[in-house]
Symmetry: C2
Subunit: 731 residues, 2 copies
Amino acid sequence: MSLLLSQRPSDQAELENFGVDWVVHYQFDDVEISKATSEYEALIHDLHEAHLETQVRHGHGASVLIFIRVPRAYLGNLVHQSRVKDWLYGIIHELPVGDNDTIADAETPAEALRSVYHAVTWKKSLGGAHITPKHGKWKNIASAFPLHDQAANAELLRKWSKTILLMAEDLDAIRALFGEKVAFYFAFIQSYSLFLVFPAAWGMLCWYYSRSYSITFAVGNCLWAMVFVEYWKIRETDLSLRWQVNGVGALKVTRTQYVWEKEVRDKITGEVTQIFSPYRQFLRQLLLVPFTSIASLALGGLIVVTFALEVFISEVYTGSLKGYLEFLPTILFSLCLPSITNLLTRIATRLTKYENYRTQDQYDLAQTAKQFVMHFITAFLPTILTAFVYVPFGARIVPYLNIAYLRGKATDVPRDFHVDPSRLQQEVIYLSLTGQVLSFGEEVVLPYVKRIAMEKWRDYRSKQAVVEHRRNVSQATNQVLVDEVEESAFLSRVRSEAEAVEYNVHEDTLEMCVQFGYLTLFGVSWPLVALGFLVNNWLELRGDFFKLSVECQRPPPIRADSIGPSLQGLEVLSWLGTLSTAAIVYLYRDGMTEIHLSSFLLTILLAEWAYLGMRYAVSTGLAKILSSTLRRESAKRYAVRKGYLEASVSSGPGGSPPRGKLRVRFRDKVTVYTSATDPPSPQSEEELHEATLDDSERRFWSGNAVEDGLRMIKALGTSAADSTGKMRKEL
Amino acid sequence: MSLLLSQRPSDQAELENFGVDWVVHYQFDDVEISKATSEYEALIHDLHEAHLETQVRHGHGASVLIFIRVPRAYLGNLVHQSRVKDWLYGIIHELPVGDNDTIADAETPAEALRSVYHAVTWKKSLGGAHITPKHGKWKNIASAFPLHDQAANAELLRKWSKTILLMAEDLDAIRALFGEKVAFYFAFIQSYSLFLVFPAAWGMLCWYYSRSYSITFAVGNCLWAMVFVEYWKIRETDLSLRWQVNGVGALKVTRTQYVWEKEVRDKITGEVTQIFSPYRQFLRQLLLVPFTSIASLALGGLIVVTFALEVFISEVYTGSLKGYLEFLPTILFSLCLPSITNLLTRIATRLTKYENYRTQDQYDLAQTAKQFVMHFITAFLPTILTAFVYVPFGARIVPYLNIAYLRGKATDVPRDFHVDPSRLQQEVIYLSLTGQVLSFGEEVVLPYVKRIAMEKWRDYRSKQAVVEHRRNVSQATNQVLVDEVEESAFLSRVRSEAEAVEYNVHEDTLEMCVQFGYLTLFGVSWPLVALGFLVNNWLELRGDFFKLSVECQRPPPIRADSIGPSLQGLEVLSWLGTLSTAAIVYLYRDGMTEIHLSSFLLTILLAEWAYLGMRYAVSTGLAKILSSTLRRESAKRYAVRKGYLEASVSSGPGGSPPRGKLRVRFRDKVTVYTSATDPPSPQSEEELHEATLDDSERRFWSGNAVEDGLRMIKALGTSAADSTGKMRKEL
């Protein structure tokens, strides 16, 4: 029983969360009260059936918040079972000591929360409550999420604002708070930013000492991109082994939406597996080809038209309102882009659903791959058009725009129209600097302002609503609709978290990939691009963490062993980057004079061969030099087996496991990185159960979720119906 | 004790080998007798110290054959220890049942022989006798090798001569006889030949229905090459898992020649490892670049000169003896090639030694990589010159040859010299068909004839020598120099095996790679190439097995999990093949008319992009469709762990291992593939020891190796000295 130390002792951070492990946000705006009550009862029933304790408070508007708490002993056992499963699937090498009833101590908050997540979402056959927000039976559940650990978040943000570099321990801390999937993103942006120091310094040197479009810088930049991608591949394996998540994709559970053709009992394991023909799936995946074509055509067409209009207005058009009209194409483009992107995203989502992936991981990856294509087109096509069409061929193309327009009329534009080759550089400078600042504002600042404003407005509304309620409902109901004084701060925080958006780590990763792509594709035209990106990323990293911890719901601590398909994106970009750099240097170096198609093609071909050759050398060399990780991993396996062998020869299986190296606790505000060393003194289970809850918490958990909830639904549902009714009348 | 069933019961094949496990061939032609005797004594001492039984007979000339036999119980324990080591290094998933004294039954002859090999060659600290033929202390040991299993070899050869395809069981049989490294080569040639059916059929179709240099055939051929390489990668993993050798490189022992910088005690495992900086090794490996350049220049120069001379003589020269002179360049080339190749091989070997690899495996791979480069140049450069230099530019270049020669004289050759574009096709036909037949003769038939002739001559010589011995030496010595009647057939076989060459599996693999390369690079110029190769390979496979089993020493059954660096060679060839095919089709399709450099480059660039794109699609698709192997592997691990978990929960560790699926025994002549099913009845160790040796075998093992050997050395050494003395006198 000495292992029964829960992850949530009575420290400051815990107190603020009132021992709540998970929150389910049930909304019933558009639901009839009778249906809402029955759904609510079923929800509570399912949760209780899965051994979860529940409590309920009202949310904003017609919604209730169901607070879930997993009994400590049960949670400890879930953690142990999860580790045994890891061992069965070969994720970890040593079998956790214990039997079916062992209660294990989670190493990190994320590990504990992951077990909670499984208890809430897994199918009933797997022992979960099968709560699937926004899907099927539970489509009225808006979200289900864990609560932020405010103290730890604040501590990390404070620490990072003072440092330049993130250390391994910082990444471990993110992993401990948010799980490996999120930690991989931060590890990526950290490695990437660190690597950016080279092209930034190299760029400054070349900018100062050599001519523009310098071959020296081009070669350095391309090599850097290649080395970074190969390094990251090794680093990723390194991290996945350090965090013991290598190959974790294998044990992910089946998505509820998965359609299988047959169930097969595996001859070797005896487990029942659901099979969907990989051949059919591959055929379905081939639909990616027409999708990519359509997306390219739609987005590319839009971009080309905008571009042509812009050129036309700025270079050819001489009519009235020219000053205003110049902005028109960009404005139109900005207006059309969201709806086209939305449409494409919807198609992409349907496609991904049709591709029918077994696990959520695979689903996410396939969806991200499609978004990558779309991002790629919108981000790079304008600059590609400038670099390889407008500047080289502008002098030939632009007069046609003129002629097409002024058919028959006298030509206003002189025939020897000349495009300024520095336009590419201007565009790169604008997009790489201004663009980054704007996107940061759009991503972090704007949502923050919006959220604050929204909250103010809602506060105002809800105060009015409370007054109305008072008049309408009984005393007992009234009590459940008014927050206790000691809970009110906590509840208002939970309500705002319930309204917050979900954090999408793939989006952030993609953003970094696009930045990387911009540097490799067009960096050669202005060597200071990397410097700008380096500065931006210092802020970006902290901004992303701020967004994650303040503006988004805490994501379920999902495990992953890679940044996903973005890695392939990086490889493609470093390859395209070499071709593009060679092409730009060839075209622009001598100011667009003496260009021959055959020598242009030869340049590209040679650049490509150099790329292929160098990549092979770099990956072989790096793998050789950085092979220590894999060696350490096999040494560890060797040690475990050796120890087991010795133990089994002398007596039986045993030996206490040397786990806990990476143990990270957020025990108090001062030492975020404390690693727990003192084992807790043995206590009886009851004592422990009590010890984890203080007075206010016990009070919080004392109500009856079923009764309270039903009362709330009736009260809030009626008032919501009233107010909609009123509004209808008023209209 | 029930596991004590040795791999060598009293069956036919065993009888013929007199229970001999290993043979050491000690030669002392150039050694003083006193030194020879002390070396011999040390050898026998070392062998006895390593718990090996020895027996001695004289060999051809001044040499003795030391027969080694590992006591059955000791061998069984070695096999068990080896399996435990496999488990420790993660090669197999389940710990073999037993303790330090367990005696295991080898699954295959190769497994038993591998343990014998280790006992003979491993360092004394590892429990071996540290016999290292041709190296250091043992540089007078010409070879150390196991004896062929004549019956099994003959049976396999007989079976294969009647079938078209090799089955999985045939590959398992090769593995059981010769180990995984050799089996991988046969698996490769089998898969490759099977795959050849497609381009053979496709080629016939295209040859019949479409024009020459058809794009249809070109695309099919390139796609086929790509699919084959990607398929083989998966197949290789499949086989390595089936044969339980995946990742086997990790447990290979350190080479005697390895130089390390420091010894480090691993923190995790506690094992001492010898470390040589991987960074320094990488730097040394970079010497491959100048080596490749030098090799290319030397071989390339030779080829270019030969080519130019040939062209000059056949096309320009009109002087006397033209008919004979035409063959001169080729003859000169053939005369120079071996010495240049030898020189380059020597440089390559020194380079590989300098690169200082820890294991023999890594050493072999590095050496093979260098040979690959040399093979590549000699095999492909002549045809590349024909295809891309002589035919397209011949009309421009050849007149220069003429002018250079006839400086100032009148020009005999008309200026509008024209090269026949069909020359490429003729060359491809000649090289792919005649070349294959000639190389088969050179590789299999010629050595066979040579060996037979050599044996006849030696028989004649040794008969004379025996007569001489009789006169010179004592009666006791005389007895050891004359074979017993019942042993004489066996001994003459062993003597001829001792003189046989070592089998180099890399050479055979390289030969297949060169064939593959020829098909991908130039196959498009004559679609029937693949058909020819297909027919050739049917013979090649059997010829190689004949060579392996009759003309070579039985190789030590070394394990490997791949065909090695040839795999990378195949990848490079399929890439180069695409480029070459595109170029040939572009150049030759319209009979060398309308060629533009820019469209030529564009063709190559597009072909390369198509290749890169398709390869990604093919490898992704194949990995998806053929993923069953890896799934099965993880299922197996899961099952093992699950079983262990259940066992450990209920009692302790245990459960009998379900090994032996692949067990292959060569028990008698009729059923080569019998899998042993009846467990042997328990017997006492002594009985078993006796049971494994019959009368003649017991007699064979009854002599005293030390005394007999010393007597032989003295006798043979003296007579050798006598005869050299005589010869010197005679001269």
